[in-house]
């Protein structure tokens, strides 16, 4: 790995030393918070942030995210997880501990439009996105220089109808080799196959250039222009097999008016897209997004 990227990651690790997030989902029932917080207290944890949500106070699902610090956490991971298993079993919890110093490995897919990629790279350099951007994959060459100047590997993999399946397999191999945790589609204009999607559940974040569910599918700005809407938007969501139907993480809009042509909508939309995608990626990296059914709980 290059020195620049390496340094970045070392810095992220240092900043997140001893820090982890406990994520829990289970049927709501008395005593959960009491048990979990007593457990963390006994482990010597310092709770940094805690958020919880019950879908329905009368018999719904309960979700909890606790960010905490424990001295020498790295050497105690196994012991803590084992100890927690007892509690988890008692409440039939779906749970995991995400160690913040295990920096998530992220792949970015991009086509020709650069604004979303540039925003992600910028936020990464500014320390806002604490990930290891392990590689950028594109069906075009345009962004190579920018990406490589940050010493991030750039894979140019052009796609045709004939090679689509083969290229996708190459992508899957790359992602597996690199042990990628998160795939970000930063205006990648190729549809992923169900096979690809099924291998990365709730690990692929897309930015759609409309306020979903308005303008599902192709050319949303042209259709927004045709419809004469007075606001345009962007939506970041997890990718599922149903095009543009996955769980929504974040959305935003900007005001437009009759003077704005389709090209103006595209230009204005770029500003919305890049900030909406960056927020969604940041929240995912911080384990703030929980998928429940086809919706997300975002512990901002």
């Amino acid at each position: 790995m290059s020195q620049f990227r390496q340094k970045r990651i070392e810095w992220f690790k240092e900043k997140n030393k001893n820090r982890a997030r406990l994520l829990i989902g289970c049927a709501d029932q008395p005593g959960i918070v009491s048990s979990v917080s007593t457990f963390l207290f006994e482990q010597g944890a310092n709770i940094v942030e805690s958020s919880q949500y019950t879908t329905d106070p009368e018999g719904g699902m309960f979700f909890l995210r606790i960010e905490f610090e424990i001295d020498n956490l790295e050497s105690r991971e196994g012991e803590i997880e084992e100890a927690f298993t007892q509690i988890a079993e008692r409440f039939s919890m779906d749970w995991r501990i995400s160690y913040a110093y295990h920096i998530k490995k992220m792949a970015i897919f991009v086509s020709k439009e650069e604004h979303c990629l540039l925003e992600l790279l910028w936020e990464w350099q500014a320390g806002e996105l604490m990930a290891d951007i392990s590689l950028v994959i594109s069906n075009h060459e345009v962004m190579r220089d920018t990406v490589e100047s940050l010493q991030i590997p750039y894979y140019y993999t052009p796609v045709t109808k004939e090679t689509k399946q083969e290229v996708e397999q190459r992508h899957l191999d790359l992602l597996e080799e690199q042990e990628i945790d998160l795939i970000v589609l930063a205006r990648y204009m190729q549809i992923l196959s169900p096979n690809f999607v099924s291998k990365h559940p709730n690990q692929i974040i897309n930015i759609h250039h409309s306020f979903l569910p308005a303008f599902v599918g192709a050319k949303p700005y042209d259709r927004a222009y045709e419809r004469g809407v007075k606001l345009i938007g962007a939506t970041s969501h997890y990718v599922t097999d149903d095009l543009d139907e996955g769980p929504i993480i974040e959305q935003d809009v900007e005001r437009v008016n009759h003077k704005d042509k389709a090209d103006d909508l595209k230009r204005i939309g770029r500003h919305i897209e890049r900030s909406v995608l960056a927020r969604a990626v940041k929240w995912h990296l911080q384990d703030r997004v929980i998928v429940h059914g086809n919706k997300t709980i975002v512990f901002e």
Copy 2:
């Protein structure tokens, strides 16, 4: 007419004395503004506000709205319109002069939800909506006291499948008798027939409780909740035969999150609906909205 309403209208007339708006649409061509502004200058007009828009500088449509004042305008209406006909013919204009002191007559249709009606009544009392609210029609009795306390006639016309056609005819008769210029559907939960709509082209404003074209049709908040959107919206539009497909006048949104149930969305949405509808009605009353195809030009 009651004294309160009468006084209101007298005040609106006084405030708009000598004031009119010239509205023009025609093929873009050299010399239009020159001719029109020279004409107004020669008529002694004082131009208060002027807005124009060309759909396409290369051979598009040209739209112009000029708000002006002319001394003793009421007595000169015929003369001015006749004189303008020459210019209008030269440029094949679609045009009209809207005299601001001819206070528009407005009917409000409402069902059980009161927030949009209340907002309109409030803005009317505050002098923001310079209309004669000539009547309120409802398929429920709930708003009678509020409406009648302002001395506005309230027509309770319950609707069943069997009586729908007959009731609509009664509405049409009422609107004709009262010479209504604008019909506002302030959360009126009945679908108008094509016959009704065709009699009032670009004269019926509806508020739809979603960010169109998302959630066209019934129960938009429930569907927004199901979809897990992060923003909810409202849309005011002119009514056409295609449900929720008419020209959009105004839209707005508010942020929501995973904690908000469908009922919370409805509650938050009420705030958006009432302000979006009130803005659209105000702009219409001020002749700021021009319908072009299925879109609006709003000279805010």
Copy 3:
């Protein structure tokens, strides 16, 4: 008490039966959440919502708000509070339990501008503000009919320089007699004396018609117009002895432009003021606002 108000309050009580909010502030230290949640578990509480905040993970202040339900809570208040005292003492907590079925008694002060009062009355009728609006006090008569039509007592107390002190004493007496919990200044254009303020710490909410700290003091819209700002705002805050310097609860803004005169700013501002004040009052009534120094923590 009148029947209408009485019914409203009975309904609020019924909706909040068995519901309370535990509010805690203390030095951050290990074991708080564990102790508190174990306590609530042992009392048979069903936790509806829980929010916490630490000003600084390294030795700051810790704040907690837990909304919960306990069967037959009304009859168990004393017992529960006594039991909690032990925990509170161990952690040197500043704490209270606010029982949601003890409907807060609220007084509204208003001058001539009616929009904020109307919004509060409206939200109250809609069930959004679960308070007993026990009285409205005004130095003008204009709102009497509206207020009395809802069977809320209206006190007209004109103020002159000479009578100011005497009138304020009458207000204090009224508030004491009526056991008022919250005073809302809904565009009340009189400055309260330090004596008055000191008797109601963090119990007086004001709406200031600017985006504080811009335009502290009189005539903020005129000064905003003079300065040529491109956004105007409103701020709701607790009243302290320093004019417009108390802890801010909520703020919002709207876009304006060069065409907007001071009167337009006032008109646009009314929409911001009423929603900002209504949100602040709602949060206060739900015990979501904690004052810490000169700032607020709002557990939205």
Copy 4:
């Protein structure tokens, strides 16, 4: 000049061929629009966009911006201006024609914070800012590589108390040599002397990192944090001798809450600053901003 910049500018010139903006300010009086539009018609102009504003319909100031195209405009500049002088004299107009193909020369001043500069460079590459970025001046070296990679000259001029005057003179010389039309302070943390400012009236755009007039002066985010505001903002304005008191061009805000520390405000603020500054610079380059007294008219 380098090839990259040269190509960019050639492209801007080509896109703006034959295009100009006529800008007029004068006492409001009958016949202005008639005369001006007749003049443009006779010159064979195609009007692309026209905006006007009267400060007060009763005897105020009148401002007009007309964007137009005339064939072979470059060769006819002198002739047209001479012909227009007659009209200008009749109405005592303050006027100018800004030829869009005369690409404005822009200097950017920056210190250590890079986000505003990056945004400007990005928008420039995307074709949104049609200027010749002729040079970047900084009291730090950090941005050299980024700037020079776009073949824009980078001047590193460190400043100390002793050298301040001398350095400023060097800047003035550079700006004069390069015939700079617009100076953008993209988070340049040095105060300009009255001498410097007076040489570039309404030609220096600054970004202030607060919602002016709140938090005039140093460390606005720290002070916003201390005050506990619920929204933070940024303001772009023309620089005058009164610190942070010049005519405001654009402002915007973002929501924050009690969890956001001063550092979070800075981070969130960067997003506001960069977009607010970019919009102001774009409007200035398109001659959409007219300074009137200490305010701006922005013909968006």
